[in-house]
């Protein structure tokens, strides 16, 4: 089986599981374009490769399958962030390009993109991005282009690139105060609460919310 097809199927098993589904038929129906000629037989093959376990009509990833699936999902969602927030690519093009990137990005480049974007926790659709080896390490060889407010330089001015909120209504609340991607902010203080300035508006925020706002220095 082609590498792409393997990755596509593993990715679909992973994303289906996120939605709480694990039936083989559903995986097959929802697998993307790169899994040409997909069929039930592919699962047998994946099982033989040690990437998948089958239990009746249900499928589950093995340890190795899990590792590879996470990699694909990670590349896909990071690519979405890169394309949408930094390069301002429209939704349709973003999706098809991300589907390309997920198969072609090397591990090294993936980590660089992740660092560049400030290790974003979610994709633009709000789905979690599986963390990679670069996330959580303190060593930073690459200077990130985008960082969460907690790591942003105090007193510096930045443009909001994206907001990855845990709750959707938070975005609305922030938007009402003018805090949206594209706005220019200055980080004023971090403790006891975050204080940011947008033009003449000063806003105090919980650290938790500040961590969801990603900015690029300008």
């Amino acid at each position: 089986m082609q590498e792409r097809k393997i990755e596509e199927l593993l990715e679909t098993v992973f994303t289906e599981r996120e939605k709480g589904r694990d039936d083989a038929a559903g995986v097959l129906a929802r697998a993307g374009d790169h899994a040409e000629g997909k069929s039930e037989a592919d699962f047998a093959e994946l099982e033989a490769m040690g990437l998948l376990r089958r239990d009746g009509a249900r499928v589950a990833l093995t340890g190795e399958g899990e590792r590879r699936a996470r990699g694909v999902v990670r590349r896909h969602r990071l690519a979405e962030r890169l394309l949408k927030d930094l390069l301002d690519v429209a939704e349709g093009a973003m999706e098809s390009q991300a589907c390309e990137f997920e198969h072609s990005l090397s591990a090294e480049v993936t980590d660089s993109v992740c660092t560049l974007l400030g290790h974003p926790p979610t994709c633009p659709h709000g789905e979690p991005i599986p963390p990679g080896p670069c996330c959580g390490t303190t060593q930073r060889t690459l200077r990130p282009l985008v960082t969460g407010l907690p790591h942003f330089e105090m007193g510096a001015t930045g443009r909001i690139v994206f907001i990855a909120p845990k709750f959707h209504d938070r975005m609305d609340r922030l938007a009402a105060l003018g805090v949206i991607p594209g706005s220019t902010v200055r980080l004023h203080q971090r403790s006891p609460s975050y204080v940011i300035e947008l033009g003449e508006t000063t806003i105090a925020l919980d650290p938790e919310i500040a961590g969801e706002i990603f900015v690029k220095r300008i």
């Binding site: 003018g178 594209g182 000063t202 806003i203 919980d206």
Partner: protein
């Protein structure tokens, strides 16, 4: 252009008569000087506030503009017409419900971007309006220049620069008000959203204060608060609205509401950049800015916080709660008003029996008989003297301090400083307001729990107020008794209260369903409060206290008097005695103190104080007594709040929550008291 006239048919028949008054509605972001402008327009000042959520009530006034009578309404500050809070919903609903009005949008010129975000929504809504660019002087001093003519041309409505506090621009504003008209400015959204709008708009019934396009946008954005409005639509139309919404939202990864705000803000940014130029800023306002920065600084903010709290304590706790209360209670009430009332009743009421009923037998001190007006639990000597002589001086001084803090812009900064502490209790920094107010009067504070955004937070605040925040009436007696305690026993008392506060808050946050609201708070610039504003605001709030809280004190007194008359107090005392003596190891006199405490909080502590006073004076308090006093104080402070507070809880939160809170507090207070008793006997 002729404004939409709010004329009744009768008015059309007799054109010569005085025309019907028109309605003007003031809208604007929070802290833009809307209420000051309202005061300047109507001549009647209303509450101006820096704190989001304080102007919950809509204020109305009258004005004569260009020879015609106007009804002027002031609305709570809002950032948009798709509401995020109760306040914003109130404003939106006013615009939706009223007809034939002229809208006056007030915005902060320094912060035009946010103002314009609301402007374009008013334009979308088709509301006739004009725009006041307030605080024009502050903007100029910061080097912000707005091209007023270009802005007026782009919007198609009148734009008037004003300085409301100096009444500048008021005449131009009044001249332009009758010519308020819908704006020609329109935001174009993505094709997907426009298609959705094209589908929803024809389904909506015409009429109402807001244009169908604006309502359709709110519906697409998933505004649940509009459910009532579309309930009248046929089921098929409702289904099509829902369907259009699903289809459009599927096109975007973010919520549709956010996408709409974002595209609207992009249009605002283009307009803003076209009319605003920024020059060099003058240094004038820098000190205020620096002070503002220090007041939220992790290190410098702490001494500033301490200084503000100390000053507030000296003013409210010492001047209000001691000096003024002593004067009002003894000099005014007990020495003058009470005897005068007695004399007046004896003189006015001829029948002996009625006299006895109202003011008790002659020659007996009023504390020793059960007269209805003047007596131990008399409506006048107890109820009114409590509300007017003890609580009023405290809340009055508190309101002055509160208004000063509010007008200065320090309150939200105070919330920033204490946010972390309150987060542990499932609340956020905003909760500091009702808590501090609770130290003045828990009944009043319970009412202000409204400023919290979610139901869960409101319940936690109400519970903690009733449980662990001693009000000033109680505090005075507690402090007097605490003075006699050893430092060790004092530490036990303080520790038990603080521990309970944090523990119960933390537990309540875990147990109650729902989540806390986010702490996103705008910090207005620091300003020097104006004495006139503080005075009028304080008066308005005192009026509020007299109207809302004072009657509850009277009802409480009435209940107590009735209970005393039918011998209920003795029964209650007998029921409570085993718990007080057996569980808490207190003298049986304390049982009455607890019961009285429910009806009048300071009586409880005062009753105990009298019991121990001889020993305190002689300096012969034993270890046993120290423990007893500590246990009694802890239990009394935690114990059920006064009856006025209980009624207020019921009024604000409903019977179920009120009873649940009471049902939790009574056994819990006794439990904590018993625990402190056991621990102290073992460790102290």
């Amino acid at each position: 252009m002729t404004p939409r006239a709010a004329t009744a048919p009768a008015d059309r028949l007799d054109k010569q008569l005085v025309p019907e008054p028109r309605t003007a509605i003031l809208v604007g972001n929070p802290n833009v000087g809307k209420s000051v402008l309202f005061g300047a327009l109507t001549g009647k000042y209303v509450t101006v506030s820096n704190y989001p959520g304080t102007t919950v009530e809509v204020t109305r006034g009258h004005a004569t503009i260009e020879g015609r009578a106007w009804n002027v309404m002031d609305t709570p500050g809002t950032n948009g017409l798709t509401p995020m809070s109760e306040d914003e919903q109130a404003t939106r609903d006013i615009l939706l419900r009223e007809v034939g009005y002229a809208c006056l949008q007030v915005c902060d010129t320094k912060n035009l971007r946010r103002g314009l975000l609301l402007t374009v929504q008013l334009a979308e809504a088709g509301v006739p309006f004009l725009l006041a660019l307030n605080m024009a002087d502050e903007a100029a001093s910061r080097g912000i220049h707005v091209d007023v003519e270009a802005l007026a041309k782009s919007l198609g409505v009148d734009v008037v620069p004003t300085v409301a506090v100096e009444r500048k621009g008021l005449a131009q504003l009044q001249a332009a008000l009758p010519a308020a008209r819908p704006s020609s400015f329109a935001v174009r959204y993505d094709p997907a959203i426009e298609e959705g709008l094209a589908e929803v708009v024809p389904l909506l019934p015409p009429g109402g204060g807001l244009a169908p396009r604006a309502v359709a946008l709110m519906l697409l954005a998933g505004d649940d608060s509009l459910d009532g409005r579309i309930a009248g639509l046929p089921a098929e139309a409702r289904e099509r609205v829902a369907e259009a919404r699903r289809r459009v939202s599927a096109r975007y990864p973010e919520s549709l509401r956010f996408v709409i705000s974002k595209q609207r803000l992009a249009a605002v940014d283009r307009l803003h950049d076209a009319v605003v130029t920024r020059g060099a800023r003058s240094a004038g306002s820098d000190f205020g800015k620096r002070l503002g920065a220090w007041s939220t600084h992790p290190i410098w903010g702490v001494p500033i916080l301490a200084a503000v709290l100390l000053a507030a304590y000296e003013f409210v706790g010492v001047l209000g709660a001691r000096v003024a209360v002593d004067f009002m209670e003894y000099k005014v009430f007990y020495d003058r008003l009470v005897p005068w009332t007695q004399a007046a009743v004896r003189w006015l009421v001829p029948w002996q029996a009625a006299q006895r009923f109202l003011v008790g037998p002659a020659g007996v001190p009023f504390r020793e008989h059960d007269g209805f007006l003047v007596g131990r639990y008399g409506l006048f000597s107890m109820g009114l003297s409590y509300g007017m002589a003890i609580v009023l001086p405290i809340v009055a001084t508190f309101f002055v301090a509160f208004s000063v803090l509010e007008d200065s812009g320090y309150l939200p900064r105070l919330a920033v400083m204490v946010n972390k502490l309150f987060k542990r209790m499932g609340l956020n920094g905003k909760a500091v307001l009702p808590m501090v107010l609770g130290l003045g009067c828990d009944t009043m504070a319970t009412m202000t729990a409204r400023i919290m955004e979610t139901r869960k937070e409101r319940i936690i605040v109400t519970l903690l107020l009733a449980l662990a925040i001693p009000c000033s009436a109680q505090m005075a007696v507690i402090l007097a008794m605490a003075a006699s305690l050893s430092p060790g026993a004092l530490a036990w008392f303080g520790g038990a209260l603080l521990g309970t506060l944090v523990l119960v808050g933390w537990l309540a946050a875990k147990v109650l369903p729902g989540r806390g609201s986010d702490f996103v708070l705008e910090l207005p610039p620091l300003r020097i409060p104006q004495a006139g504003n503080v005075a009028v605001k304080t008066l308005a709030r005192i009026e509020w206290y007299l109207r809302e809280a004072l009657p509850l004190f009277l009802v409480g007194t009435l209940l107590l008097w009735g209970l005393d008359r039918v011998g209920g107090l003795v029964v209650l005392q007998r029921v409570a005695a085993p718990v007080v003596v057996g569980v808490l190891h207190l003298p049986k006199e304390a049982a009455l103190a607890f019961i009285l405490g429910f009806l009048r909080r300071d009586y409880a502590a005062a009753g105990l104080f009298l019991h121990y006073e001889p020993f305190i004076r002689a300096g012969t308090l034993t270890r046993e007594m120290q423990i007893q006093i500590t246990v009694a104080l802890v239990t009394l402070t935690l114990f059920i709040p006064c009856i006025a507070n209980f009624f207020m809880i019921v009024k604000e939160r409903g019977w179920k929550t009120g009873l649940a809170i009471a049902g939790f507090i009574v056994p819990f207070a006794v439990g904590v008291g018993a625990t402190v008793n056991v621990l102290m006997r073992w460790l102290y």
